[in-house]
Structures are given as structure tokens and as C-alpha cells.
């Protein structure tokens, strides 16, 4: 997802960097080349469907996090607040609106094209709806709304699936057809879905490599790089599939060599703590945040944030034989569309499957979808796993809410607590 890669880069990271900057360039050229551009969100994105119409997706969340990593978000947020956006709301939205108000220059310095359509896939977060209602006031373009039912009781019911498919048929596809002037081509969609499934297999392989000791990956700080292509514009593309093949090979080599994860300061040689993290990372001080972990030998072996764009490690794969139903299932299965009890179950499972020493919640101010209920999750997880949980607070892209000293302190004390428990033995 981010393209500011660690200084010691894996081959796949270089490849990803090229793909992402290539995509921003393609977006910049889109209007000249007569390509249509759709703005949409990461969770519940319909990349294969858009690609089957030769549409280029632009993802405002990715722009926001990229702006965060490039230290641009603070200025954009102030700009949006100057235009009357409340200091209390999601900073992704304000970062995006601020960027727009300042000329819509994308994170790589090239101007972003205006959307031909806003594809509002309403998965896992209410803010999405308001975000695109706000953008609609800025752009004179249609909106396609795809309401994704929430798994309130932890299940996907048949009528949910039917509802989503009907919306795809009556709302989304007709609008994509109208915007592009092309007819829906189911075979193209199927071919793309097959590529998605292959990439998903490889991604899961990579994520699950963290079961090894030492883990060859960091499944949070490194994980956000690994999910980049599949969560953004490259799911269902040849390029995306090739990236994940390359990544898998790379990880295999690391496992064979018994290597730990690559950090911005080189390979982590001693894995002292294995952690599961719930919640998104902070982007404005991403490296500093990561350093607080790898300096202590802490490796994240599983994370929930890397599942916001799809819970592939729980078995879901895009299915070319059921193209619309599989898109529906995908949208309904993203992490933030899970009920809170299901989220607790998942984290608990991760703690066990990845033999973690503890779990930590990074609660971000911006995101009620993630944050509401996390304190209860913490207690429930402590009860169920018998492990201590850590809790830190920050924000996604608002630099005002990253208090480095405070966070570092908390992480260090948390790791010390794990260490003490460990040395005291299981009876402690």
C-alpha cells in the first residue's frame, strides 16, 4: 500500500513501487487517453469489475495514507478544517478534501483526474457514504451506491447476497456501462477474477509464512506493503498476479535461509516478541512507529488491518464461476464488516495460530468503525487467551495525534510485561 519502502528493499518492494507510481502516471494521462476514472474505496472495492470496463480506479484512502507518509496530510487536514470540516471527524476524509481544495495533486506530485463516477461501495464504514456525498458536491458526476449489509449476527444471509447482486445488476453495472459506453463483458470479468484468486493464494501463503520461527515477514508494518497491490488497483490484473508470485518466491527464500523480516534498517536478526496487532497503523510517523517495535525485536505475526480489503486467509477466494455472487461475498467479508464478536474470535485465533506472545491494539482517533468496542475486545481477548493485551492510541494521518514519546513508553512497558511473564513462567 505505501510506496515509501524501507531503505533495504526487497525485490518485490521495488516492483510495487514501480506499479504504484505507474498507476498514478496512468491516472494523470487518463483523460488524454480517453480512459474513464472511478473513485472508490478499498474495502469492498470492485476492481475486477471496473477493470473489465477498462476503467482506472482511484482510491482516496490510498491517496490519504500516501499523503500521510509524505508529511503532506497535516496541511491538507488544516485546509479542510478551514473549509468548515469538523476537527472530530475521520482525517482520511479531511486529507482528501484538503488535497482537492489545494489542486488535487496526488501524492506522487501528478495531478489526479476528476472522477467520471463515484463508486460508493458502502462496506464496513458509514463515513464512506458521507465522504462521497461530500465529493459529489465538488464533482459533477454520477454516484453508484452499493449498500453492503453488515454481518450484525456474524453471518452472511442469502438475502444479503441477493441484495448485493441485485444492486450490482441494477445500479452499479448500468452506471459503469453508461459512463464507458461499453456493454458489461462477463467473460472479461471471469478472467480477471481468476487472476485475483491466484494472487490471493500467494498473498495468503505469504501472510501465513509468519507461522515460522523466526517469522520471515512482519505482518503489519511489512504487511501493509504486501497488501498494497491487491487492496488497490491491481487485484485481477496480470501485473498483480505476477507481483504476488514474485513475493511468494522471495518469502520462500527467506524461510529457507531462516531469515527474519526486512526492516528499514536491515534484517531483523533476533525475534524476541511475536505480536498480533488490531487496528490500522499510523502513517505520518510510520517508520518511527515501526522502529519502536523492531528496536525491541518485536515482530508482528498477524494483523487485522491487513484484512480490511479482504479476509483471504479465512478461505475466501474470488470465484470466476460465480462472478457477481463472488463480488458480493467479497464485499460482505471484509474485516470491518464483521461483527465485534467475530473480530474478537479472529484475533484470538491469530494469537493461537501464530503462537503470539501478546496482542496490541492501536486505536486510531479517526476511525469509529475500528475503534468503537476495542476496549471491550481487549478485555475479552485477555480473558480468552490468558495473555496481557496492550493498548495505544494514535491517528491515521493527523500528525497532531501521534505522541511518539507516549507511544514508545507504552510499547516498551508492554513488551517488558510480556518478558516478565515469560521469565516468571506459565504460573505467573
Amino acid at each position: 500500500m505505501p510506496d515509501v519502502a524501507p531503505s533495504q528493499k526487497e525485490q518485490s518492494m521495488l516492483l510495487q513501487k514501480e506499479m504504484i507510481s505507474g498507476h498514478y502516471d496512468a491516472l494523470a494521462r487518463a483523460k488524454d487517453e480517453g480512459k474513464k476514472v472511478v473513485y472508490t474505496f478499498v474495502p469492498g472495492n470492485l476492481t475486477e469489475l471496473m477493470r473489465s470496463f477498462d476503467i482506472l480506479p482511484n482510491l482516496p484512502e490510498i491517496n490519504a495514507l500516501q499523503s500521510g507518509m509524505r508529511k503532506l496530510s497535516g496541511g491538507y487536514i488544516s485546509e479542510a478544517e478551514k473549509h468548515g470540516h469538523s476537527e472530530d471527524v475521520c482525517t482520511y476524509v479531511k486529507c482528501d478534501i484538503g488535497m482537492l481544495k489545494k489542486g488535487n495533486i496526488g501524492p506522487t506530485g501528478v495531478k489526479l483526474p476528476e472522477p467520471d463516477l463515484l463508486l460508493l461501495s458502502y462496506t464496513g464504514c458509514f463515513t464512506f457514504m458521507k465522504w462521497f456525498e461530500l465529493l459529489r458536491q465538488e464533482y459533477d458526476c454520477p454516484v453508484a451506491m452499493l449498500h453492503i449489509p453488515y454481518q450484525g449476527d456474524g453471518k452472511v444471509h442469502d438475502h444479503y447476497r441477493g441484495y448485493v447482486i441485485e444492486q450490482l445488476e441494477t445500479e452499479v453495472i448500468p452506471k459503469l456501462e453508461a459512463v464507458t459506453g461499453r456493454a458489461f463483458d462477463q467473460d472479461r470479468l471471469r478472467a480477471s477474477l481468476a487472476l485475483s484468486a491466484a494472487a490471493e493464494d500467494d498473498l495468503v501463503y505469504v501472510l501465513e509464512s509468519a507461522r515460522h520461527r523466526p517469522s520471515p515477514i512482519d505482518a503489519y508494518f511489512g504487511g501493509v506493503y504486501y497488501i498494497g497491490p491487491i487492496f488497490s488497483a491491481f487485484r485481477g490484473t496480470e501485473e498483480g498476479a505476477a507481483y504476488y508470485r514474485a513475493l511468494r518466491r522471495e518469502i520462500d527464500q527467506r524461510v529457507a535461509a531462516g531469515q527474519g523480516p526486512v526492516t528499514p534498517e536491515g534484517e531483523l536478526e533476533t525475534e524476541r516478541f511475536r505480536l498480533v496487532i488490531e487496528g490500522p497503523p499510523n502513517w505520518t510517523s510510520f517508520r518511527e512507529f515501526w522502529k519502536m517495535f523492531y528496536d525491541e525485536g518485536a515482530v508482528v505475526v498477524a494483523s487485522t488491518y491487513t484484512k480490511v480489503g479482504g479476509l483471504y486467509d479465512r478461505g475466501f477466494r474470488h470465484d470466476p464461476d460465480n462472478p457477481l455472487a463472488t463480488l458480493a461475498d467479497y464485499c460482505m467479508g471484509c474485516y470491518t464488516n464483521l461483527s465485534l464478536p467475530a473480530r474478537v474470535d479472529l484475533v484470538e485465533q491469530y494469537v493461537r495460530d501464530y503462537a503470539a506472545d501478546g496482542f496490541l491494539i492501536n486505536s486510531v482517533k479517526s476511525c469509529n468503525s475500528f475503534s468503537v468496542g476495542q476496549l471491550l475486545m481487549l478485555r475479552q481477548l485477555e480473558d480468552r487467551t490468558g495473555l496481557p493485551g496492550g493498548f495505544i492510541e494514535s491517528d491515521l494521518v493527523d500528525p497532531r495525534y501521534f505522541s511518539a514519546a507516549n507511544i514508545k513508553n507504552r510499547i516498551e512497558s508492554y513488551l517488558q510485561m510480556i518478558e516478565q511473564k515469560r521469565t516468571a513462567g506459565p504460573a505467573a
Binding site: C90, L340, K365
Partner: protein, 390 residues
């Protein structure tokens, strides 16, 4: 105040102060096997609950009358106050009279709260109510029908009896009458706001959150008759304003009073949507569920939590300003309320386009200090009066 009005207002005040839901308990105790189902803002199909012989109870948090002892431990500082007081009410046993709880889809706080409820109260009936955001009868309508039918089955199981079509018709009619009375009260206030002081009207309406529909209808109708008979309620010249943003976490009564004391008459608001939706007539159809479904789909996006396909966000507010001859709008939103605060810039744009003056501030249900609000609202009221005279 004349004794009859005083009695009515005292009753409403008692219900307002009744954080332990004593009124609900006595309703339940009046007959064996009676049950009550709570729901959070903004709206739930109360008709179905009542048709099953159960009392729908709108849970609106603890306001400024509840000491938060445990609730704060569940929520970070940047989350609105409403879920803290609601969890506090539940953990302290004050909601024990409720046999189930519905969580309508309005924001991520209430959505996740539904999961918290499942974990905190595993023996209670808990349901997340996903209101459709697609308003095509054949698409969103079909989904909504499935949801409502599933809810009806659950309610029947809880009540231990089926819901007949006649039960549902009677219930729809009872709530239609209630909405009609509530609507008449809003209209009457809009015509002569000096007759219906904001705090009084608030508690009269709020009684509808815990009373059976017929009883509340009677209360509102009686209030409509009695309030104009108060001699001291003389016509006054104040600024007519619409207040927007209070659809979930409730403003403290002191805040409403402050607005009035600052020189405003509230002529419309977005309070108590549970009592006011659907704003259009629910037809008694055959089968009766159809009418409920259609009315919900056709009523339009009257709150921040409902998608507006035509993009005319704020049209309802401008329309309300016009219909109520308001001179300005006060955005009065709970701190950290995503739907209200994300919506605000769009409403501001709609008002600016129609040259309607507006101002804004935030509150929390337990806000106790109103000096700054009074000053701001006072300045605003003066300025729109000057504006009007200019």
C-alpha cells in the same frame, strides 16, 4: 400554570427523569407475560414490536442525569458520549426491563455497540437493524422485507404468539395517529412558538419513547389543547430558528432553554425521529407490511444516516426553513458525532445557496455549562433580527 397542564407536564417530567424505566416496568407488570423491546436512535419499526404485544422503548442515553461510573472504561475519549451513558444504563441494571434491544444502522458507534451488547449481555435478544440504502422497491424493498420478516419472526418467538395481519394493521394505525399528533404539535409550535416552551415540548414528546402509542397520542393532544390556555404565554418577538444535528445523542434540557433565553424560538428540529418517521402517510395495505416498507423507502433522506441518491443533501433543511418561516439555522451536533458533523458542510452549502444564516456549536449530553452557547446563540439571534430588518 393551570393545574391540568401542570399535572400533564409533571407526568412528562417524571417519565423524563425515569432512568430506571419504572414506567416500562409497571406497564409490563400490569399483565402477565408482557415484554418490552428497546431500540437505539434514530428509528426502528416500532409498529412490529407493538403488533407483537410488546412495548417499544426508545433508548436515548442517560443525558446529564447519570453519573458515568463504568461506561467510560469502554470508550476512548474521542468517541461521543451517547454509548457511554447507554452502556452505563445497561450495566447498572436500569435497562433490565427490556427483553431485547435493536440497533438501527445509523453510524459505526451504534453498529459496533450492537456487537458489544452481544458480548456484554449474551442472554438478551439483540439485533442489528440494517436499514436499506437502496430505495428501489424491487431491490432495497426486497431486502427490507426480508429483514422485517426476520425481525417479526424473532418478535413472535419472544412474545410467544404470532403477529396477525390485524395486529399489524391496528398497530400501524396507532402509530400513524401518534405521528399525526406529533406532527400537529410541531405545526402548532411553528405557528405560535411562544405557546410551547422548548423544554416542555421536549419532555412531552420524549414521553413517547416509553409510553404505549395511544397513551402518548392522548398526552400530546391534551397538551395541544392546554398549552395555549396559559395566560402568560404571550406573543413575543424572537428569532425563529431551526435546530439540526440532535437526532441521536440528546441535548441537555438546559441547552434548549439556553437557546430560548438567548432570544431564539425553535420552530423545527431533528429530534425524536423515531416518533416522526416515516414522515409520509403509511397506507394500510393488504398485506399490511407492504405499506410500512413502501413508506420507509419513499420518505427520502431525512437524516444524515440515510443515503440521498439525488445528491440534494440539505434540501430538507432549506425546505424546513421555508415551511416554518425560519430566519436561521443552528447546527447543534454532539461532539464526535460522525454523521452529524460530516453532514454539516453539505447543509451549510445548501443554506448558503439559499442565503439562510447559520451558526454552529457542539454539545455533549452531559454538558452543564451554557454560558458560551448563550452568548453565541444570542449574538446569532440578534444578528439575524438585524439582518431581517435591514
Amino acid at each position: 400554570m393551570k393545574p391540568e397542564l401542570e399535572k400533564l407536564v409533571t407526568r412528562a417530567r417524571t417519565l423524563f427523569d425515569d432512568l430506571d424505566l419504572e414506567a416500562v416496568r409497571s406497564w409490563k407488570n400490569a399483565m402477565p407475560d408482557r415484554k418490552a423491546i428497546g431500540h437505539l436512535p434514530v428509528w426502528a419499526p416500532r409498529e412490529l414490536i407493538w403488533a407483537a404485544g410488546m412495548l417499544p422503548v426508545s433508548v436515548l442515553g442517560g443525558g446529564d442525569r447519570l453519573e458515568i461510573i463504568r461506561g467510560d472504561a469502554y470508550f476512548q475519549s474521542y468517541i461521543c458520549h451517547f454509548p457511554r451513558s447507554t452502556v452505563e444504563l445497561a450495566l447498572s441494571g436500569r435497562l433490565d426491563a427490556l427483553d431485547g434491544m435493536l440497533f438501527p444502522s445509523i453510524c459505526d458507534v451504534i453498529r459496533n455497540l450492537s456487537g458489544m451488547w452481544q458480548m456484554l449481555f449474551p442472554d438478551l435478544y439483540v439485533r442489528y437493524l440494517d436499514l436499506p440504502q437502496n430505495f428501489d422497491l424491487e431491490v432495497g424493498g426486497r431486502f427490507w422485507r426480508h429483514e422485517l420478516e426476520a425481525l417479526m419472526r424473532d418478535l413472535e418467538a419472544l412474545a410467544g404468539r404470532p403477529i396477525s395481519e390485524d395486529d399489524l394493521r391496528l398497530s400501524i394505525a396507532a402509530f400513524a395517529a401518534n405521528r399525526h399528533a406529533v406532527h400537529r404539535l410541531y405545526q402548532a409550535r411553528s405557528r405560535e412558538p411562544w405557546l410551547f416552551p422548548a423544554d416542555e415540548m421536549y419532555i412531552v414528546l420524549r414521553a413517547g419513547c416509553v409510553l404505549p402509542p395511544d397513551e402518548h397520542t392522548e398526552l400530546v393532544e391534551r397538551y395541544l389543547e392546554l398549552a395555549p390556555g396559559e395566560a402568560e404565554r404571550q406573543r413575543q418577538d424572537r428569532s425563529r430558528i431551526v435546530v439540526a444535528g440532535m437526532f441521536c445523542e440528546q441535548p441537555p434540557l438546559g441547552l434548549l432553554l439556553t437557546l430560548e433565553r438567548a432570544g431564539c424560538f425553535i420552530v423545527d428540529d431533528d429530534l425524536f425521529l423515531a416518533l416522526r418517521w416515516p414522515e409520509i402517510e403509511v397506507e394500510i395495505t393488504d398485506p399490511p407490511l407492504d405499506g410500512l416498507i413502501e413508506a420507509f423507502l419513499r420518505q427520502g433522506a431525512l437524516s444524515a444516516s440515510v443515503y440521498q441518491p439525488d445528491g440534494k443533501r440539505g434540501a430538507w433543511l432549506v425546505e424546513s426553513v421555508e415551511r416554518n418561516h425560519a430566519e436561521g439555522v443552528i447546527f447543534c451536533a454532539p461532539s464526535f458525532c460522525d454523521p452529524a458533523l460530516l453532514e454539516q458542510p453539505m447543509l451549510v452549502a445548501a443554506l448558503d445557496e439559499s442565503s439562510v444564516p447559520h451558526t454552529q456549536f457542539k454539545y455533549s449530553e452531559d454538558t452543564g455549562q451554557f454560558a458560551a452557547i448563550r452568548e453565541q446563540a444570542g449574538t446569532f439571534a440578534d444578528s439575524i433580527r438585524l439582518w431581517g430588518e435591514a
